[in-house]
């Protein structure tokens, strides 16, 4: 049987497994939110914030393991609070955002290490959170993700004002766009999106999930609306294909998705370079 057919059969097989169906649905939900946020992360240069919040999620997961609760329910408020704290320090002091992130990044890793050391019997569980796992998504997680994504629908009407302030903050302020409130909301949405993606992508790679679709789409877009649509498309495509790849090759799901995103970014880069030369 040709290799293509074998892969096709394998993909159909995968769809027959409930755990894969859950992972696929979770991946789709998460990629919708991440794909929408990624252009803002790229244009506002927030990729380090993504890293900082991913480490906050790590501390939250470790706390959950330590207290023997569902780690995501600890990671969600913890990451959200860290996102708010970083934004507060940036807004209220003259410190730059990367400095504020650096402080909370270190604090989160330190707390995570302490919690994990106290939750010794559960370190194996932590590996699933670090790299993402197809088996990790439970039916309860799907419900939680669905609910949080409904909440995230509030992000849609904010696209226009957020994009305006991303281009020119002062101009948006002069038009009385509540830019500071929107900064907090964006940080909050990033925190929620990151925590939701942790089960599928893993803590280590989750920040890339928020950066690469937007970065690849930016290379190919002339307008911000085009960038947003393309980012959504690339996030969904890489997640779906990445999950199949993970199933077929027995790779960690997060690594499979991010590797595919990197390939898409490489293709976008090559296209950009050749277009410029022409």
């Amino acid at each position: 049987m040709p290799t293509g057919c074998i892969w096709g059969v394998g993909m159909l097989d995968a769809l027959g497994y409930p755990f894969f169906q859950r992972a696929l649905l979770a991946g789709l939900l998460v990629s919708l939110l991440s794909g929408l946020l990624s252009p803002f992360v790229v244009q506002r240069r927030l990729s380090f914030l993504g890293d900082g919040l991913a480490h906050a999620a790590f501390a939250g997961v470790a706390l959950g393991l330590f207290l023997r609760g569902e780690p995501l329910w600890f990671a969600l408020p913890f990451t959200f609070l860290v996102a708010m704290a970083i934004t507060l320090v940036k807004e209220k002091t003259e410190l730059s955002e990367d400095t504020a992130i650096g402080v909370f990044f270190a604090l989160s890793v330190a707390l995570g290490a302490v919690f994990l050391s106290k939750a010794r019997g559960y370190v194996g569980d932590a590996m699933g959170y670090l790299f993402g796992s197809l088996l990790a998504v439970s039916p309860g997680d799907l419900w939680a993700m669905g609910l949080l994504l409904l909440f995230a629908l509030f992000l849609l009407p904010l696209w226009g004002p957020l994009a305006y302030a991303t281009l020119d903050r002062e101009l948006a302020l002069s038009d009385r766009v509540p830019v500071v409130l929107h900064d907090y909301l964006l940080s909050g949405f990033l925190a929620v999106s990151l925590v939701l993606a942790v089960k599928v992508v893993g803590i280590i790679l989750v920040a890339a999930f928020l950066v690469i679709p937007g970065a690849a789409a930016r290379l190919l877009s002339r307008t911000f609306a085009g960038l947003t649509l393309l980012s959504l498309l690339l996030a969904i495509l890489s997640t779906v294909l990445g999950l199949f790849l993970s199933f077929l090759l027995d790779w960690p799901s997060g690594a499979s998705i991010v590797l595919l995103q990197a390939v898409l970014f490489g293709l976008a880069f090559v296209k950009t370079v050749f277009s410029v030369r022409k």
Partner: protein, 252 residues
């Protein structure tokens, strides 16, 4: 008497702005009649941009500002057309000039432009001689081209008050003359009030009013009364090589 001068476009009373230890403006009071063209002059750091930002509500201040008889809270943002001095926008942001102009109508970034918005934006760009820039990426425009696009963005909403912070920065001499022509034409047809920060004293001589500012009001009134040697010496400390300008309105 021009009927437009009967109403006050802007009343500023005892305005003070402080940034930490730095007093940017202190006790500024002025009354600008509707339809006036006010040139704001003063040395660097005199608080000229801060004054415009206070009028827009961009900086916290003490004192009172009323626009067209209303407190700032009661004003409609669409009354104001603002062209900032330094374009702080993100040059890597993927945007077309036309989209920026439409923000002047929508006050948010457009996902999709309606045909009516496109028409209006093209007309606004055409008014400032920038129709050809409509579909050009914003990040690839020169300083002078950007000024035109920002001006089109300010004009598309048909503002009652135009606030221009050194609009001729980066514009060549021909473009500068064009710019003043567009402003005059808009003011003529709309009766709008214009407040323009400028370092071009010749342009200031053509304004209906001149505000000489150095953290406080040093002089305010028609050019022949405000642009006096005494006022300018008080504001700038010295007149330097521009001393021939203040009286005649010629080139330095």
């Amino acid at each position: 008497m021009d009927y437009r001068y009967c109403v006050l476009a802007l009343e500023v009373q005892d305005l003070s702005v402080r940034f930490g230890e730095f007093q940017a403006l202190e006790g500024v009071s002025l009354a600008v009649p509707e339809g006036a063209f006010v040139a704001i002059v003063g040395p660097n750091g005199a608080g000229k941009s801060t004054l415009l930002k206070a009028i827009l509500g961009l900086v916290p201040f003490r004192g009172k500002i009323r626009v067209l008889g209303r407190s700032l809270r009661e004003t409609d943002p669409l009354w104001f057309g603002y062209v900032p001095q330094i374009k702080t926008f993100d040059r890597s942001f993927p945007a077309l000039s036309l989209e920026l102009v439409v923000t002047g109508l929508r006050r948010r970034w457009p996902f999709r432009l309606s045909s009516r918005e496109k028409e209006e934006a093209l007309a606004a760009l055409s008014r400032v001689g920038a129709e050809a820039l409509a579909f050009r990426p914003l990040g690839r425009l020169s300083g002078g081209q950007l000024q035109r696009v920002y001006l089109a963005r300010a004009l598309i909403r048909r503002p009652r008050i135009l606030l221009l912070d050194e609009p001729a920065t980066g514009v060549d001499r021909v473009g500068e003359v064009d710019l003043y022509r567009y402003l005059e034409a808009y003011q003529e047809e709309s009766g709008a009030t214009v407040l323009m920060i400028t370092h071009d004293w010749e342009a200031a001589h053509h304004a209906s009013h001149v505000l000489v500012l150095n953290r406080r009001v040093v002089g305010f009134g028609p050019p022949e009364r405000a642009l006096t040697e005494e006022c300018l010496r008080q504001a700038f400390g010295h007149l330097g090589h521009a001393h021939g300008l203040y009286l005649g309105g010629g080139h330095a």
